[in-house]
Every structure is written in structure tokens, then in C-alpha cells.
Amino acid sequence: MMKAANTLKADVVVIGGGPAGMSAAVAAREAGAEEVVIIERESRLSGILQQCIHNGFGLHKFREELTGPEYGLRYEEMVKKLDIIVMTETMAVDITPGRVVTAVSKERGYFSIDAGAVVLAMGCREKSRGALSIPGTRPSGVFTAGTAQKLVNIKGYMPGKRIVILGSGDIGLIMARRMTLEGAEVKAVCEIMEDSGGLTRNIVQCLRDFDIPLMLRHTVVKIHGNKRVEGVTVARVDENLKPIPGTQEYIECDTLMLSVGLIPENELSKKAGVEIDPKTRGPVVDENRQTKVPGIFACGNVVKVHELVDFVSDEGETAGRAAALFSQGKSLSVSESHKNSNSHKSAVSVPREQKKGVKHLQGSGGNTVICTICPMGCKITVDKNMNVSGNTCSRGEKYAIQEVTAPKRTLTTTMYAEGGTMVPVRTDSPVPREKLFDCMEEINSKTLILPIRSGDIIIENIEGTGANVVAAGSFL
């Protein structure tokens, strides 16, 4: 591809304004890069965080539990404060190995930026139906979970009413709860593996809370319906993940949501000549997050799909700092970056199996709970006499007693604002679980007047729970 005649210059160009890109840009600026540019396709920063209106973000980075838009907003503010140049509604279409980034936008046309260093932060995309080769017809109503999430949370429309979800990763689980709260019936979540890949807290709070069946070792073998989905056939699979004949079961539904994996988006990286690891499908990077092409760095889900956004931000910092040093002709200090990039490992030493899956919950008796206060995920037992064991801190004890006596949940949802904008909102403290639908009803019956700032109280003491409903995003 040819370089456009109108060429700008910048020290560091970051491709993608999601969590990885924002944190890389901030770090680059802090490490002394003068001109830092973020190229973002959407009309605002934060990337996928905008539609991830649920909470659970930021426990590592900010030591508090934030929703996706709130987490994003923290970085958006840093980006603003540091005078980082943000080009929204701009699509990067090419990168050369010599670090010329070509992009296109309504405002600037087709233009190039000569970059001192480039940070790839394009994130990932979802595996589609085609990648799974699910047999059957091709009607309306088959969505990837992320597309459905965008429709319900950003656009404010119901993508489905009777839903089957394939894949029990966190996005699938979160969507099961989200659609249930908005009045849909989630008929089942099918998982081809013998255990869910989602966080235990999501199994508890997204499925168990609403009695949504999780069908382990099951997959969708056929999609029915000519115009709209009318149903799916599911079947049990054997140890080779092949459907077992005779185990088919028809489930009537109007929607199939797919949460079956994410693929790093590296079409641009390939144009830059960056070497891709066939296993992770992301660029091969060193401890500075530098790819095999000097001066081109990569971070976040474009490298490999991360479990937590906090880790994505960490990686962005490493890449951003290194990119700044590179653009200034300085040598990259390996040891320091290296330490930083692995910081999450030292911050929380949680064995993986403790954090994941249904199995962790099984055989634990009625009064064993997984603490969701922090990502440690302690398995805490409460006996008949309210004696608590298994916790590692006092917050855990309190949580466990609450969970077995009167469980509470933070409610995250959207609220209708004038003109049809959907504003993410949350309760500022947990509300009794049985009050969730009452709270939803009250929130849905009100129209918000813009502008609104994140943290503004919208409804005080909702349904007498003592919790306030606050805005979880800014619409100015």
C-alpha cells in the first residue's frame, strides 16, 4: 500500500484506544514521548469496555471494583490530562515495517503518520459461527455474545428473548445474566468441555442466581429456522468432543449466542511484517513487548487473550514505556520492564484452578461459598453455628456469612436517556439478591436527562435497599 501524500509525524502511534492502547499511550507519555497519538475506530475511547457494563474490573489496578465503562473512564481521564492526541473515528489500514502508519477518517481523509515507535493494541475478535461449522440453516438470531452485548447495552435493543448460549466463558456467562435481567429467558448455557472456563463468581452470580442450566459436555449440533432462529439441537459430546448419537435434544429458542473464543486481530500486524506465533495467533514479543520488527510493540489482547483487563493495562504500560524509549533512541531497560510486565503474578498468587469453573463449587455442601470480594477466590465454609473457615481475611468471613444468609449483589444495567442514549448505571452498594428485578423495574421506568457524569446519583435508596443508583459513565 502506498503512503499517503499528507504525512504527519509522531513519536509514538498507538493503534487502538481500548484498555491496552490507553495505558500504553499514558505510559509512553509519562516516559517522555512528546507526541503520542491514539488511533481509535470508534467515536470514543475505551474500546470493548464501553459495552462491558458489568462490574469486576480494576481490583488489581485500582483496588476497587469498577464496571467496564468506569475502568475505561479512569484511563480516558489520564489520556486527556497528558495531552495525548486522540484520533477517533479513524481506522488504521496499514503499517509498514518502517513504521509508517496509514489511516483514514472523515476529518483527515487518507493520511499517514511517520512514527518513532508503534504500539499495536487492536485487541481481538470473536470466533463466529462459521469458524465452528455449526450445521443447519442461516437465519437471523445467531450472534456472537459480544455483538449481542453491543446491541443490548449500547444500542438498547433486545437481540433475543428465548436464548441458548453456546460457550460458558465469562462473556457467555455475563450475557446470560444480562439478558435475564432485561427480561429474556435464557434456556441453557452449553459448554463443550467438562468444566466452564468462566470465573467461579460468574458461575454463581450469572447462572446459579437465576437457575440457568449449565449443560456441560454439550454442544449445538444444528440450527433450525429459515427467517429467524426457531430452535437449536444440542447433543452431549464424547471425550473427542464429537456429538454422541442419540443424545440430541431440541431446544426451542429465537436466539443463539456464541461465546466460543477470541482471536487476536493481527491483520495489520501482518502487514507490518510482524512475526505471529501460530499458537497464540498474536505477535511474538520480547519482555519489552517489542515484536520482531524493531520499534513495533504490541500489548493486550492483540498479543494473546487475557483473563483480566487489569493485566492488559499492565502490559500496555510495558509496551508504552518501551515504545517511548525506542522513539527517543534510548536502550530499552529489560530488567525493569520485565519486572513490571509480570507484576500481576506477584501481586496475587492465586492458583488458577481456584479461580475457575464449576468443579470448584462441586461437592462443597450447601454452605461453601467462593469469596468474590477480591480475586483470591477463597473457598470458605460456613457451618450450622455460623463458624467460618477457609477465609484468609475478615472481609471474607463477613462475605461468607452474608452469602449463606442473605446474599447481596451489585446491580449493573443501563438506563434510558433522552434521545435514546443508553447510560450504564450501577448500584453503589450491593442490594439483596431477591430485589434485583424490582430494582430493574424501577430503573427501566425512568428517563435520564443528559448531561450526566460518572458517579452522579440517579435514584436514591432504590426499593428501600439503602443503595443508590449511580451513573457508571459520563455523557456530557
Binding site: 502506498m2 499517503a4 501524500a5 475506530r41 473515528e89 481506522m91 489500514v93 496509514t102 483514514v104 477518517s105 472523515k106 476529518e107 483527515r108 481523509g109 487518507y110 475478535r125 470473536e126 463466529s128 459461527r129 462459521g130 469458524a131 461449522s133 450445521p135 443447519g136 440453516t137 442461516r138 437465519p139 437471523s140 456472537t144 455483538t147 453491543k150 446491541l151 443490548v152 449500547i154 444500542k155 438498547g156 435493543y157 433486545m158 437481540p159 428473548k161 432485561e182 427480561g183 449440533v221 444444528k222 429459515n226 427467517k227 429467524r228 491483520e267 443501563t414 438506563m415 434510558y416 436517556a417 433522552e418 443508553m422 427501566n444 421506568s445 425512568k446 428517563t447 435520564l448 436527562i449
Partner: protein, 488 residues
């Protein structure tokens, strides 16, 4: 009163409409779906066959060879992508080679130019990924590829630009003969009724209803032929797999058709398939596990290594297999013409079919003067991705909508999507936009761009978002709003 009504907005109906739109007569195209190119014209291999396959002297043979010769020029006029990639029919044993020899003879009789038998080594020089097990091939340099739905859409768009009308969601349920007042050439004309009660009147009818053409013929009492839907299942691979093959590679044909093929489409994807299964249900466009497995198994004989992780979608097409074995292009009664049983090589033959039907209509007195202002070209189609930097900048300066990339996988801009919604024939649903612009055809299969495309459709058509469909009524993308608020 229309002069001519064409039933079926596929490639055959489209080519005929375009041909007839040069005459100064009122012309209407009736399509039962929400968009044109919704039957086999959207789901076939996109091959312009050289013409070695059909029985010499058959309509299939004559019209295939003629159509194939016309195709490149027509694609130029209609602004349709065309690539002459050549065809290789490969053989694995002596039996196959014998059949290939017969095909060569047949092709020569049919008037196909440039045919030759080559050995396995030469074939692998042309296509380096071909299996070592291939011992020889029939090479047809005139074989080509086009985008079948683009050809259909552009021919219909061109007919409309020249004054033809298009009625969609017009499912023909009744064709009545009405006594004429005697002023016209015949003593009757036709009244065609749609399932929703709409009626049109026309002097001439051309039946191009694809797999339903036998049912349409029956409406005027013609029960001479029947159509069996023959299902063909395909797999489509990402452009990243595009290096697998360039030419169209076929197996040695059998009685059920030409067997599976592998081809790099005009858009650079790899297309594998089709199966060939006679089925009962004319609406059954399901993809089956067995079907896909059989495609993969047969393709594995061509190539040692097919990058199956690059599969982005699967689809099914239903071919209109006629019981006569040949194309059925005839007039069962004055004023009514059947174009039925147009299976492969129907796409290749379509320009020649249009020419033939034009002659039949002239003969029958359906044509009048030629229009003075007839324009055979489709103009102004913008393919942003293929432009130079300077062209892109000029374009965005003129119309900023071209500066917003909506589909990132295929790099399709808002400007191109708006153009598809505004140009003839107007795209009215998400799939129609996809077929015209390729937005949503890439590796993410619309995951990112579909909501934006739906939004643009809602704005342009002036309908609420929840009324936007994937492919016509009943296939709405979403239900109603999650909430509409209340007290402030």
C-alpha cells in the same frame, strides 16, 4: 399494463431484464424475496465454465460456450469483477484420464478454444499445492470466475437504470388469462397475482423462477417439466488462505454433476464444494454435518494440506435440476416463455440465454423501438479499498462518508454502504448490503459492523432499528427496545 413481466430476480431474469430494457416497453421484474439474487444466483460456485462439459448440440452446450465468450465484455459493462483464471479438471487414474480425453473431444465439438490435456507435473507447475496423486488434467484456459450475485444485482440495477421496474416480496400465486379488447396482437393478456394480493397485468411473461419455475409454469397449465432442488454445500475460507489455489480445480465429472471444485473467488477467498444431493424441500437450505464432511474429504484428494482453521462460513445453494437434463427454454403458449432447469452452466450461459429469449420476444412481437437513451453500463461503483491514496483523498474531500470504515475486515466505508442502499436495486436488509458491498463477508462475519450497517439502513429507509432485517420480513435483527424510560 406492462409489456413484459419477468418472474424471478436471479441471474437469468436479471440478464433478460437488462437485455429487454433497451427496448421502449414497460418492463417489470417480480421477485418473491426482499432482494434479488436470493436463490441459486447467490449460492453457487461463481464459475464461468469453458463449455467442455455439456452434451454437444444441447442448449447447455451452445449457450454455455456463447455465454462464456460474452461474459468478459458484459462484466466490463456492468462493472462486475471477472478473472480469467483457467480451469483444471484433474484425474487420479487411467479411468479418469480416459474420461478427460472424452471431455476434450466434447469440448472441441462444442467449440471451446485452447483445451489441452496436460500431465500431473505440468498441472502442479500451474498449481503448486495440487496433490502428487494427480496424474493429469484437462486444462481449459477460457474458464473464469465472476461474483454471481454481483452479476445479478448489477444486471438488474442496469435494467432499472434503463427504466425497468422491480417489485420485491412479490410471490406469484396466480396467473390468469384475461380476454383482450382485440386491439392488441393477441386475444388475451395476463394478470399476475402475488401472495399478498397485489396484481399486475402484462402482455408477456418470462418465467425465470429457478427452483420454482415448474410451479410457475403450472399456473398457466404447463405441466411438461419438473424441477428437483439439488443441494450444493460449500465452505468458504478467509482470504489469508487465498494462496491455496488460483485456477478452478475440478474432479473428473460424474452423472451427478461436475463434482467438488476448489477455486479462489474473484474476491480472493477460497471456495470449496459443492455437494450434489437431490432433496425434496425447495426451502431446505440447511448445511449438514455429513455434507461438509464429504466436501472436506473430497477436497483432501486435491490438496495435501487445506488450512481448515481459515474457514469463515458455510452455505448451501439449491440448483434447479430439470427432469429433461437440458435447459428448458421454450414457449408453451403464445406470450409465455419458460427459462427453466437452468442449473450449471446457467451462470455462464446467462448472457446467451438473455440473447435467445430476446429473439423469442422479438419474434412474438413483444418489443418495440430501441430506446435512444439506453445505457448498457453500470457506473459509479466505488471500491474504496482498490483506489490510490490520491483518489481516496479526493473522494473523502467530496463525500466524507467515504472516510469512515465500517467493515474493518473488508475495509468497506460508510459511503459504499449508503450507495448500496440508494442505488438500483436498493439494498433493504443487512444481507443485501453485504452482497453489494462485502461488509460483513470477512473473517469476523459481521460481528463488528452488523449493528452499524443496521443503523445506516434504519436511517436511510426511515424505519425503526428493530424493523431492520437480515433478509426480509420475519428476519428482524433485534426485538424492541430494552426500555423506553418514563418519568424524568
Amino acid at each position: 399494463m406492462y409489456k413484459i413481466a419477468i418472474i424471478g430476480g436471479g441471474v437469468v431474469g436479471g440478464m433478460i431484464a437488462r437485455e429487454m430494457s433497451k427496448y421502449d416497453v414497460r418492463l417489470v421484474l417480480l421477485e418473491k424475496e426482499n432482494d434479488v439474487a436470493m436463490g441459486q444466483s447467490k449460492a453457487n460456485s461463481g464459475i464461468v465454465h469453458a463449455g467442455y462439459d455439456p452434451e454437444p448440440g444441447s442448449l447447455k452446450a451452445i449457450l454455455n460456450v456463447r455465454g462464456s465468450q460474452m461474459m468478459e465484455e458484459i462484466c466490463k459493462e456492468l462493472n462486475v469483477k471477472y478473472r480469467k483464471n483457467g480451469t483444471l479438471v484433474v484425474g487420479f487414474d487411467e479411468e479418469d484420464m480416459k474420461r478427460l480425453g472424452q471431455l476434450l473431444e466434447r469440448g472441441r465439438k462444442n467449440g471451446v478454444e485452447g483445451l489441452e490435456i496436460i500431465d500431473g507435473e505440468t498441472a502442479r507447475k500451474m498449481e503448486r499445492n495440487l496433490s502428487e496423486k494427480i496424474i493429469g488434467a484437462l486444462y481449459a484456459p477460457t474458464g473464469a470466475v465472476v461474483c454471481p450475485y454481483e452479476l445479478t444485482t448489477h444486471s438488474i440495477g442496469n435494467a432499472m437504470d434503463n427504466g425497468a421496474e422491480l417489485l420485491t416480496q412479490f410471490e406469484v400465486t396466480e396467473i390468469k388469462k384475461i380476454e383482450n379488447d382485440g386491439n392488441r396482437q393477441r386475444t388475451y393478456f395476463y394478470e399476475i397475482t402475488a401472495s399478498d394480493g397485489r396484481k399486475i397485468q402484462t402482455e408477456y411473461v418470462v418465467n425465470c423462477a429457478g427452483i420454482h419455475s415448474d410451479e410457475v409454469a403450472k399456473l398457466v397449465g404447463d405441466c411438461e417439466f419438473s424441477i428437483t432442488p439439488r443441494r450444493g454445500q460449500y465452505l468458504l475460507l478467509d482470504k489469508e488462505a487465498g494462496g491455496l489455489v488460483n485456477a478452478t480445480v475440478f474432479r473428473t465429472p460424474t452423472v451427478m454433476g461436475k463434482g467438488v471444485l476448489a477455486v479462489r473467488t474473484v474476491d480472493g477467498n477460497i471456495l470449496l464444494g459443492p455437494t450434489s444431493e437431490d432433496i425434496e424441500d425447495k426451502e431446505d437450505k440447511a448445511v449438514t454435518e455429513e455434507g461438509l464432511a464429504s466436501v472436506i474429504a473430497r477436497e483432501a484428494e486435491f490438496f495435501d494440506d487445506i488450512p481448515m482453521d481459515k474457514v469463515i462460513t458455510q452455505f448451501t445453494g439449491l440448483r434447479a435440476h430439470g427432469n429433461t437434463g437440458d435447459f428448458i427454454i421454450e414457449s408453451p403458449e403464445a406470450g409465455f416463455i419458460n427459462c427453466a432447469g437452468i442449473e450449471s452452466p446457467g451462470l455462464s450461459a446467462s448472457p446467451a440465454i438473455a440473447e435467445m429469449v430476446e429473439e423469442m420476444l422479438i419474434e412474438a412481437g413483444a418489443t418495440g423501438k430501441l430506446k435512444q437513451d439506453y445505457r448498457p453500463e453500470v457506473k459509479g461503483i466505488i471500491r474504496f479499498k482498490d483506489m490510490t491514496a490520491e483518489e481516496k483523498n479526493r473522494l473523502i474531500a467530496q463525500n466524507p462518508a467515504y472516510g469512515r470504515v465500517v467493515c474493518r475486515c473488508e475495509e468497506i466505508t460508510e459511503g459504499e454502504i449508503l450507495d448500496a442502499i440508494r442505488r438500483n436495486p436498493p439494498a433493504r436488509d443487512v444481507d443485501a448490503v453485504k452482497r453489494r458491498t462485502r461488509a460483513g463477508m470477512g473473517r469476523c462475519q459481521g460481528g463488528f459492523c452488523m449493528p452499524t450497517v443496521a443503523e445506516l439502513l434504519a436511517e436511510e429507509l426511515g424505519i425503526p432499528f428493530e424493523k431492520v432485517t437480515k433478509s426480509g420480513e420475519g428476519s428482524e435483527i433485534t426485538f424492541e427496545r430494552t426500555k423506553t424510560g418514563g418519568d424524568k
